[in-house]
């Protein structure tokens, strides 16, 4: 159905966008690769020198880097299953007929958390989770739980980040899954409802196949976003206490911006980027084969 047009026309339409994206997206990336092959510290510019793959060797054997990676993976492993379970529950409730006004209202309120400035989400956590002045601890008090030092204690700070990630992204997962549920042809769903009364059977055998693309999208995007996660933990805990909430992007920011070791930060970020791409490809191969 498409037109065959002269190359010149195509270049005129696409050229500016491609050039712009190459300049802001690829040039800095190549520059990062180049810098990652150097010892380059902003406080010791004079000592700049080419070191080949030394930075990569240092990063790959650096326990701090792998601890940050492990922490990021742990956050993903805890938060994402919860987001999918809760999100699926919410999506199934919203998918049922009836109460349509209230469901529209709920859908609108689900939009709010994921649109909120991520930095503000972290600040909100500071205020709401404070041991003495925080409203969450007040509520825990109502059900007889003593105030918890969320921000000051390493384990609790990690839990707080997990909870906050669940708050912000469960609505997103719910809406993606809801979109998936609406791709189930109504006549198939109706037929299945005549066959069985069990909602679980319908979910497993009728709806799940249609949900797979949405689930893949959720997994890929949550993986990418968890690896990117910076704003919320940064404004909430600055990666602390100690390094309890120093996720991979927070670590790289610290090495580059607070230790001024740009060469090392570049090597770390290139390795992180490679891991992101490998994971994304893995998901696509793993899940889409079933659909085909």
């Amino acid at each position: 159905m498409s037109f065959r047009v002269p190359r010149r026309t195509i270049a005129a339409f696409l050229g500016p966008a491609v050039a712009a994206l190459a300049i802001v997206g690829i040039v800095p990336l190549l520059y990062a690769v180049w810098k990652s092959l150097h010892y380059f510290n902003l406080t010791k510019i004079a000592q700049q020198r080419f070191v080949g793959l030394d930075n990569y060797g240092a990063v790959l054997t650096d326990p701090v880097f792998w601890q940050a990676m492990g922490r990021t993976a742990l956050l993903f492993a805890i938060a994402v299953p919860v987001q999918i379970a809760l999100g699926l529950l919410v999506a199934l409730v919203l998918h049922r007929p009836g109460l349509s006004f209230w469901k529209t209202l709920t859908r609108l309120s689900l939009v709010l958390p994921m649109a909120t400035t991520y930095a503000v989400v972290g600040l909100l956590a500071q205020v709401m989770l404070n041991q003495k002045y925080g409203v969450i601890n007040q509520m825990l008090g109502w059900i007889g739980i003593d105030a918890i030092n969320f921000i000051g204690d390493p384990t609790n700070a990690f839990i707080a980040v997990v909870l906050w990630d669940i708050w912000q992204w469960t609505p997103f997962v719910a809406l993606v899954l809801l979109a998936g549920l609406s791709t189930v042809p109504p006549e198939i769903e109706e037929a299945a409802k005549l066959e069985t009364k069990s909602n679980r059977t319908i979910l497993r055998h009728v709806q799940l196949p249609f949900l797979i693309p949405s689930l893949v999208a959720v997994l890929i995007l949550r993986t990418a976003d968890t690896l990117k996660l910076f704003d919320m933990p940064f404004t909430m805990t600055r990666g602390g206490p100690g390094s309890a909430t120093e996720f991979i992007a927070v670590l790289i920011e610290r090495v580059g911006n607070r230790q001024f070791d740009i060469g090392m930060a570049a090597a770390q970020s290139i390795i992180m980027l490679a891991i992101t791409i490998i994971l994304a490809r893995l998901y696509i191969r793993l899940f889409y084969r079933e659909v085909r």
């Binding site: 195509i10 802001v24 990336l29 503000v120 979109a179 693309p213 790289i252």
Partner: protein, 275 residues
């Protein structure tokens, strides 16, 4: 027999919906009420729910703490990058939707890859480059860097939109002797306005929310509002009311836009993977 059970499950469902709404909205309620508290009230333990509200925090952050100029910086950056992304992105989207050429799928994949690149990968190289070019602490540096996520969004959503414009219109115009550019400008672009509007809103939201590039590239004069909010945390005495007032000022415009584009926000966040 069946009716009462159904009614009860309806009540259960309504209760569940209410819980979901509360879960989503409560932090915003708390943010706004805290922003209306004086520091003395904000530091009461346990926290108080009823108090005399004051606008003092807003006056203070807007006029003394330079959140006002930071908000203006945020508006300048978000509006300019959105305009630039739409200007560059819509012709590209039109080409992807209408023209046949080699390497089209590769181009698509390249556009979506940008969704996966963490800003922290680009931030330091760009910091060095912008220093060399004298672009550090300017709006332009941020406007250009924000193209890395605004441009792909515009291209993705508008390509979809252009595909839904009937091709017969183009063909008729082509027979009349119109150039491709004229078909794009006068026929397809006006018809694709809904997509342009949605992608503009999403670009605005994402640029407005961005922190990492802003934090590293604009330390002073061009500092945006989220980067400004972070600096409040640096003192010993954390000014809760002021932080929440700043947060409210940052979040309210985004939430309004998000509600306006609510049906499309998920599509934007998933880069079109979910319709």
């Amino acid at each position: 027999m069946a009716a009462p059970i159904q009614r009860r499950s309806l009540w259960g469902e309504a209760l569940l919906l209410l819980l979901i709404c509360l879960f989503c909205v409560f932090p915003f309620y708390w943010m706004v009420t805290t922003s209306l508290k004086t520091q003395v009230v904000a530091l009461e333990s346990p926290p108080v729910w009823w108090f005399t509200p004051t606008l003092a925090n807003y006056r203070e952050v807007l006029f003394i703490d330079k959140v006002g100029p930071a908000l203006i910086n945020s508006i300048i950056v978000a509006v300019c990058t959105t305009a630039l992304a739409v200007g560059l992105g819509t012709p590209a989207a039109y080409a992807l939707a209408r023209f046949e050429f080699r390497g089209k799928t590769d181009l698509w994949f390249w556009f979506i890859t940008n969704r996966f690149v963490s800003p922290v990968v680009l931030a330091f190289p760009v910091f060095l480059i912008s220093r060399e070019l004298g672009l550090r602490d300017t709006h332009l540096a941020l406007i250009l860097m924000y193209l890395t996520f605004t441009l792909p969004i515009v291209i993705w959503i508008c390509t979809d939109q252009f595909r839904s414009v009937p091709q017969e219109l183009d063909e008729a115009a082509l027979l009349e002797g119109a150039s491709q550019w004229r078909i794009f400008r006068s026929i397809c672009l006006p018809l694709a306005m809904p997509g342009v509007a949605v992608s503009s809103i999403l670009s605005f939201i994402f640029s407005w929310n961005e922190l990492l590039f802003a934090y590293i590239l604009t330390p002073k004069a061009a500092k945006t509002a989220p980067a400004m909010a972070v600096t409040f945390m640096e003192g010993y005495d954390v000014p809760y009311g002021k932080i929440m007032a700043t947060s409210t000022l940052i979040v309210v415009p985004v939430l309004i836009f998000a509600l306006l584009a609510s049906r499309h926000l998920v599509r934007g966040l998933t880069m079109g993977a979910v319709k």
